[in-house]
Amino acid sequence: MKNSSKGIARICSLSDVIVLITSAAVLAAKGGVLRKAADLSAVSFEGGFLRDFLNRPGGILEYLGLLLTQAGHFPAAGILLMLVLMVWAAYSCRQIYGHNPFIWVPALCMLVFWTGMDYNLHTMRAVGYAFSQMLGIAAVCSIASLSARSRHPAVVGIISLILLYPPIGGYAVLAALCCAVISLTGRERTGVKSFCLTVLCAAILPQIATRLAYTHTDPTFTYLSGMPYFDFNGNWTRWIPIGASCAGLVLMCAFRKTLAKPVSGFMSFIISVFLSAGLVFFTYKDRNFHAEISMEQAIEANDWDKVLKIAKGLEHPTRIGVMYRNIALLYKGELLERMFTFSDEYSPIDTKAPVSMTMVCAPVSFFYNGMLQFSARWAMECTLLYQPGVQRYKYLAKAALFSGTEKRELVEKYLRRIEQNAGQKRWVKKYRSYLDNPELLSQDPEYLMAKALNEYTEPKFLSSTVVEDTFLWLFPTLDPTPGPLLELSIGYTLIAKDVEYFWPKYEAWVAEGRSLPKAMAEAALMFAYMERDEARLADVLDRTGGDDNPVLKRFNAFSEAMTKSSGSAASLDYFRKRFGDTYWYYCTFVKNFDIN
């Protein structure tokens, strides 16, 4: 560098800054998702755990990815790490084809793989994928840059393939291909021969390694080891960013001489803006997805107001969002007051992946609705179906601890695994103290609620395959039991629109001397009116303020509007605006939503 300003320009141009700032902003917006990815993964430093990774090619890459994913528990650190990996990749590319905006292509494509992650996040089997793929491509860029500066790029490629196939798997094959292409375009007179030899080695050596050394690997996935080849079933487009990153790098190695030609500042700017726009465009921006992750984290922190604040902003929530907000309402004692004051325009989860709502929210939803064994069941199943995760172990630990029927050793086993992960010591300390001091446990609000919600006789045949189906099946049918269980039971009776089960619970509620919350009053009025039950109607009116009460007035207005309604979309809009926060609107207009 001749002087500092030129030096700075050499290190970092405007296009680099644009790309980095955009990447940082997108990553910051995805901070909650990164934290969720960390929660859905679990690292261990025990020999047996590490041995599993050594038993397959690319295992070290996955393990390193898993370690780096720990940074997700502190999102700022995770974002910084991701940016560092991107810069590493870009800097290596610069050694190959000079300083131009295309140095960011491999890293940006890999970043799109992460930022484009949709509900598949909840069902990923590949371990450490948040960082392992970026780490993999950065390693490939490094090897390719070494090869570009070497006199014998093919030799670099073959050596790196032999040394690095075990730890980084398919990425070592990619590195060898890059080196092969570089040898073709390099100074070597034997370029074609080197190319062919390297490609041949890239084709054969991994097959030999898989068949001879790696008995735990299906040879079908020899070239994809270290990549998430068990994932994205029915959602193949998720492979496009990885494919684009790999193919892009190989192509740019092939055309490195062309790319090395100077690019004007204006063109650099345009290209970097285009690349940044592409990152933003292909980032998954579904509001429900991000909101549910935030709601879940707030639920686990028992921050009910935050859950409801997020819920209020959702115009078209999924049933996951609805279940989460109902949990918050229940724990605030406001379920029957506010449950129908939110938007009733539900939408299915927005994903091409074959992900069911059960897979996304079962441990959380079952746990906070008092069904500890079902929560534990799904936490266990998801651990096996997908991968072990801190969050899943937490529900296993809490369910075991709260149930009172499990052994201390079981709880301790889960706690021990959880505490090996970053940022979990305080959580583990809290629940370990409950093991040593049951009196402390008896003061825990979650425990008290779980206990209260468990006071029922189990029906003989209860499925737990679909979360909300279980709730709709069980809670309305329960005998009225005082406490939060009655509130929950009435809540689901109203969701199910089950008049027959409603009245006994209504009787139990009023027998406790409690005033009628909004949703209950509206439902009671509507049902009594529909059944032409004068006695019940009189009772309801009496409890809601007599003949002149605002609930009755509003109900009369609703009834009148219904009589005059033409049933058109415009009238539906009218009802939504005027009565969207009532049970009558829900009962009349909200039908057939997907709970699966």
């Binding site: 266990m380 199943e381 052994k407």
Partner: protein
């Protein structure tokens, strides 16, 4: 020369220092027991068992353990984890057959040494079968990830995988492998079920291995629980139509229930399936042969009232299922079975008895007993009972059982060791336990299969299930087994 001499002396000194055992402190004994994990105190162990490595959980800065043999030989280990060198352990046990080992534990706290109460371990005369094959998997219910069939050398810590399902994992399905079974404790004939991907039953007979589809139009399903005839090339299977359901609050978490079950016999040589017990009223399950191969024992639920129920209604009556143990005589020359006879009327005791296992001398039967049901693996009240087949006397084996599910039991080939699985350690993950059954008919305190790392059972999240002892290791390599699994399944023929 002087330099060489100095070098030799220094090396000798160094080696001497290395070989020195830590000195045993002179101190008084206190009234405190060693808190060890796993618990090997006052157990009876075979002379060929791997080192019983354990850890001392008592609070101390330093810990010293001395194991003393009857003739004064000893092994001294320092540290919380007591890990015995294999060769020394084997020598000690060989010299201690029929006698006791005494284990002394010394703790140092605040610079003061004290000796805890000693405990002993009796070394039996009789050895245990050298290998045990088991399923190694996470304790899931409906889904499973990586699972394998492993064979462990119980005289050391070596184990290997016979087969695992990683080869056939796909994005949408997971292969399940189960019910490995050997003929008469040997490995020249054995079998294994494969489900969901490349499904079928792998049957190995000497050098020949093939995959068979045991499902026929006349049977409920393919083969389930196997019982290989001790001498003939015949395997009796249960046929089951199973389902499971989960509890929100029930202590048992899950119930696996027979909606229907029968028994079939598969003739390996002729590839034919014949019915053994195909009663439309009875639920027959869990076949087991007597050692002479002339009697077939099995569990049977005789509840015609349940047969009338619909699928859903059956699910509501799961607590009504009570299985007895029946037997049928068998003539190997004609391959014919006699009529059923009652062996153990568990229903009368308001119990359900499953999984009969006859001792090699034919005099005793082990069963798993719980309050109800057709799968005691998930029943926390499941215990092992022993019946004296000569006089019908039942022994509840209190010393063997725990407050968690104790089930899947077997006898060693010499009839001196009972091998079973238990969830007693943490209530969820099954572990393999051994218990000595002496000549006087007494059952001794069980001990868990030893591991090299004493913390292994704390760290591992996988279960050991279906332990099958053998006197020799399996001969096939994992790739050979895989080749058989990948074969097309040969369809079995049904014959009445």
């Amino acid at each position: 020369m002087r330099i060489l001499t100095r070098y030799i002396c220094l090396t000798a000194l160094f080696l001497t220092a290395l070989s020195c055992t830590p000195g045993i402190p002179q101190c008084g004994q206190i009234e405190e027991d060693a808190d060890i994990f796993p618990d090997y105190r006052e157990t009876t162990v075979p002379p060929n068992i791997a080192p019983l490595n354990y850890m001392v959980r008592n609070d101390a800065e330093k810990i010293l353990t001395r194991v003393c043999g009857p003739a004064g030989e000893e092994i001294v280990i320092s540290g919380r984890k007591v890990k015995f060198p294999l060769k020394e352990w084997r020598d000690l046990l060989n010299r201690s057959k029929g006698k006791d080992l005494t284990i002394e534990t010394y703790l140092c706290k605040n610079g003061q040494w004290s000796r805890l109460r000693d405990f002993s371990c009796h070394v039996a005369q009789e050895e245990i079968d050298g290998w045990i094959t088991y399923r190694f998997l996470a304790p899931s219910y409906e889904f499973h990830s990586y699972l394998s069939i492993d064979q462990r050398d119980v005289t050391s810590f070596k184990s290997r995988e016979l087969y695992h399902n990683r080869f056939e994992h796909s994005r949408t399905k997971q292969q399940c492998i189960n019910c490995h079974s050997f003929q008469n404790y040997h490995t020249d004939r054995w079998q294994l079920h494969v489900r969901l991907i490349e499904s079928g039953t792998v049957i190995v007979d000497g050098e020949k291995g093939e995959k068979v589809d045991l499902k026929t139009e006349q049977t409920i399903s393919g083969g389930f629980y196997p019982a290989w005839h001790p001498t003939e090339n015949l395997i009796v299977y249960s046929n089951n139509w199973l389902r499971q359901f989960f509890f929100a609050r029930n202590y048992n978490r899950i119930e696996q229930q027979d909606n229907d079950s029968d028994l079939i016999m598969y003739d390996v040589d002729s590839n034919e399936v014949t019915p053994v017990a195909k009663d439309s009223v009875l639920f027959e399950n869990y076949p087991a042969w007597s050692p002479d191969g002339r009697t077939l024992y099995y569990s049977c639920a005789n509840q015609p009232e349940l047969r009338e129920l619909s699928d859903v209604e059956l699910g509501e009556h799961f607590e009504d299922f009570k299985y007895d143990i029946l037997k049928r005589s068998f003539d190997p020359s004609t391959k014919q079975f006699g009529p059923p006879k009652m062996v153990m009327n568990a229903k009368k005791m308001d119990k359900s008895a499953l999984f009969p296992r006859i001792s090699p001398d034919g005099r005793r039967m082990l069963v798993a007993v719980a309050r109800f049901g057709s799968c005691h693996n998930y029943h926390r009240d499941s215990d092992l009972w022993m019946m004296n087949l000569e006089n019908g006397k039942l022994d509840k084996l209190e010393i063997l059982n725990s407050d968690e599910a104790d089930s899947y039991h077997n006898w060693s080939s010499n009839g001196r060791w009972i091998i079973f699985t238990s969830r007693r350690m943490d209530g969820v993950h099954t572990r393999i336990f051994f218990s000595y059954f002496d000549k006087d008919g007494k059952v001794h305190k069980p001990f868990v299969l030893p591991q090299e790392d004493p913390e292994h059972y704390i760290k591992t999240f996988k279960s050991y299930s279906v332990p099958e002892p053998t006197v020799e290791p399996l001969r096939q390599s994992i790739r050979q087994v895989r080749r058989i699994v990948r074969q097309d399944a040969l369809k079995a023929n049904y014959r009445e």
